[in-house]
């Protein structure tokens, strides 16, 4: 069973809830697919048993001993990445998209492509099973390919270790990495918060998830920070035909758990909030 936790808006409590879910089952494979800001390794401190280099893309580089300043590459680049500045041709690393066209058309063969090889996938063991996570190097295009690698690894491990449950902590937003996170999972849980921004982002997130044939649930986190907005979100979910799995109150114990590098289930399993999260999890997975 694969369950993905996503949120649209950041900071709604997605990772805290993923961490709680990951410590509810006996043994899980936990996949941190928020490859741009992976955080769960901080809580669970997994061992590093495996590391894989992920080639995120390429960047063009000029060999100035060959460049004749013909400026042809500038005309061909559609990303505005090449300019002529202070008597030489400059490629902006941040604007270069890695399409390789400049390198192909350069009459002097002065441009070569360099692999971006700083992103990584890690796999290891943590106290409640196995963990896989990705770390995207800064500035890389977050294309979702690294997310796929993390998910594939999680599935392979689950099969090899005979572990039934895979919990996926997803990225924020609605772009490619989110699509890669939810494609083909059994359950999607969208964590939202009772703010206008939260509701607005939830709408866009439901729109993207409903393009796939998935079982979607919503959790309204910190619902008591604005009861009226929580009610509005519930009506929205009703209208969109997306069930609300539960509402969780704002509770500083959740922050406390994070500070102590624990999930709320580990910190205080008998607390009201831990019991609520546990019943939400059971409801979603129908245990």
């Amino acid at each position: 069973m694969e369950l993905a936790v996503i949120s649209g808006k950041g900071g709604t409590g997605k990772s805290s809830i993923s961490a709680a879910f990951a410590t509810l089952s006996e043994k899980v494979v936990l996949a941190d697919c928020d490859v741009d800001a992976a955080n769960l390794y901080i809580l669970f401190n997994p061992s590093h048993e495996e590391e894989q280099v992920y080639i995120g893309g390429q960047k063009a580089e000029i060999n100035y001993s060959l460049c004749t300043n013909c400026n042809l590459c500038i005309d061909y680049c559609r990303f505005g990445a090449i300019s002529f500045l202070n008597v030489k041709v400059i490629i902006s690393e941040t604007s270069c998209d890695g399409c390789k066209l400049c390198s192909r058309i350069c009459p002097a063969e002065a441009i070569s492509m360099i692999d971006s090889n700083k992103s990584r996938m890690y796999a290891g063991t943590f106290r409640n099973g196995k963990m896989v996570y990705g770390r995207l190097a800064p500035g890389e295009e977050n294309s979702g390919k690294l997310v796929n690698i993390v998910r594939d690894k999680a599935k392979t491990i689950a099969k090899a270790e005979n572990i039934e449950t895979i919990i996926i902590d997803g990225p924020p937003g609605i772009g490619c990495p989110v699509i890669s996170t939810i494609t083909g999972v059994d359950y999607v849980v969208i964590v939202t918060e009772p703010t206008i921004s939260g509701m607005y982002d939830l709408k866009r997130t439901i729109e993207i998830t409903s393009k796939f044939n998935l079982k979607i649930w919503v959790i309204i986190n910190k619902y008591d920070l604005n009861m009226e907005m929580s009610n509005n979100i519930e009506s929205l979910c009703l209208k969109q035909n997306v069930p609300v799995a539960g509402k969780l109150p704002f509770d500083t114990q959740v922050v406390n758990a994070m500070v102590h590098c624990k999930s709320i289930i580990e910190l205080n399993p008998n607390s009201q909030i831990a019991l609520q999260i546990s019943s939400i999890f059971n409801k979603i997975t129908q245990i």
Partner: protein, 301 residues
Amino acid sequence: MNKLDWSMIKIKKIKIAIASGKGGTGKTLISTNLFYVLQQKNINITLVDCDAEEPNDLVFFNGEKEKSFKVNQKVPVIDESKCTFCGKCHEYCNYNAIFILPSAKIIKVIEDLCHGCGACSVACNFDAISEKDVSLGTVSCFSNTEKSTIIEAKMKVGVFSPVSVIKEAIKEAGNYGIIILDSPPGTSCPFIQTVAVADYVILVTEPTPFGLSDLKQSVETLKTMNKTCGVIINRSGLGDNAIYDYLKQEQIPLLMEISFDKDIASYYSKGELFIKYKSEWKHRFISMFNSIIEKYGTCSN
């Protein structure tokens, strides 16, 4: 604090990016409230919502839409009657967006993978490739007061990357007056595209282990880009103190602290600007802004 000389500030320009590695730390809270206080001072100011996947700044303002335009990308269209299935376009495509099976005479463009670089058109020797526009999203401009504008980058749902829409929105903001860039979260391409044009970066974080870890990643990234930054700690009082030690050690200025306050959270949740109700924050925002523009602002013209 010295009395502010607004006539001096009026002739200055600066681009300030409000960013954070972790989502939901309060980027939009800071961007919108800062925009509001400065707007009251009758200076030329533009707020650009660069969080194109989930733009939210407009929730906080009533503005009149002045214009909006679509951001398009070119994708190839292959004329199969001219195509010889030579495979050169497939070979030129660095994104695997052209699928070809020469033996079966099948060639398809996978539009989702295409970045619109035009390499396939250059590759084709048989004039079989033309291009069409596909929409990636919209850039909309709203006039808020006489001298203030909000520009929103909004990616279309289902599009893979927000970068093109963000770039166009930033271009639309021009290079005049005070420009606030409400950045997308993370440190990947969308973040880089936004902060690349900034004169100064304000990183908003929260004092938790997650907040600190993402802050470190943002700081390291900004270092490689030679960008100067300061930090705002939001929801202080929740969490722990490790972040303060980190700032001291890295000698990064702590620009402001906003303690966790249910009132502020409640105003935000309703789409209201807390600074309108808690006037003691006005001078804190302004003195923070002043310390930044004094050091990092440049003269207009």
